[in-house]
Symmetry: C2
Subunit: 158 residues, 2 copies
Amino acid sequence: MTTNEPVPGFTEALVRLAHLVQQVYGEVAREHDLTPQQAQLLCLLIGGPVGMTELTRALHLEKSSLTGLVDRAERRGLVARVRDSRDRRACLIELTGEGTRTAVLAHDGVTRQLETLAADLPAEHRELVASAIGGILAEHTSRTGRAWSAPGPHRQGG
Amino acid sequence: MTTNEPVPGFTEALVRLAHLVQQVYGEVAREHDLTPQQAQLLCLLIGGPVGMTELTRALHLEKSSLTGLVDRAERRGLVARVRDSRDRRACLIELTGEGTRTAVLAHDGVTRQLETLAADLPAEHRELVASAIGGILAEHTSRTGRAWSAPGPHRQGG
DNA sequence: TATTGTTATACTCTATAACTATA
DNA sequence: TATAGTTATAGAGTATAACAATA
């Protein structure tokens, strides 16, 4: 009985929510003089340096697109390329001092905005929504066959 | 007691969900040889012709950006500009025949993908999630002070 | 040979500022 | 004056293909 008639507004709600989150990201990014893509990149790096190949998977970008994104962020002093000591072809992208400050501000800004918008939602509903989304993400992960590291509010302690 | 300690994973889940929806949109768009932005535009027009100014609000774009987006979609035969009989400055954007076919396919593709990913979610949870999202969207609308028309799975019968 | 990342190229997306035409 | 939309311009984002260096 998991597939009765689908709630008509369900996918519409998901799409609208996604659009809203994008909008929040854009607004917060702009407050810090970032593009949304740069904000995503920075938030993704808060947990520590990440290799280019892993970043292409996390951001769903072609490697050449990522090269350009990192180039521009590097030019603005937000990130730096460091050589990978174990593979001389590879490099890791890490936040600079300014990049770290900006990343944390952007991350906190997005989180605060979303928390504010969801302030009226009872705690148990929040947990249910988070759990439902977790299920959707897990289903997607199992279908695409690899783990997933999203940009944005990150899991600390990695 | 609406603002206890926030569920830590809540905003993270929202952000990851937004990213997933974006990804689905991108994949479906590509299947139909569209950019994600073109797919958004097309889906937004399924309900009928929409004016440029309203489109800038729905898509959160500057008017000149929208001009370019519509230009390219028009050049590809997906949409057409029609004069507004009540205001000779304004025009309405409407789907062409091919545009309508493509828009419906893209819309259905996104819906189907998301429904598939959420297939394991019990119906009552789906309703609760949709309702919770509705509350977040309503809160945002009341803060920004205007109604909102999202691209993507649309509300028919408007 | 396969993988990592860059370069070259072309296009789309986006914003700002200045503009035209209409209200 | 204000609004609807376009044009000009510049930069950012993205993909494809070809390439260099390393594994």
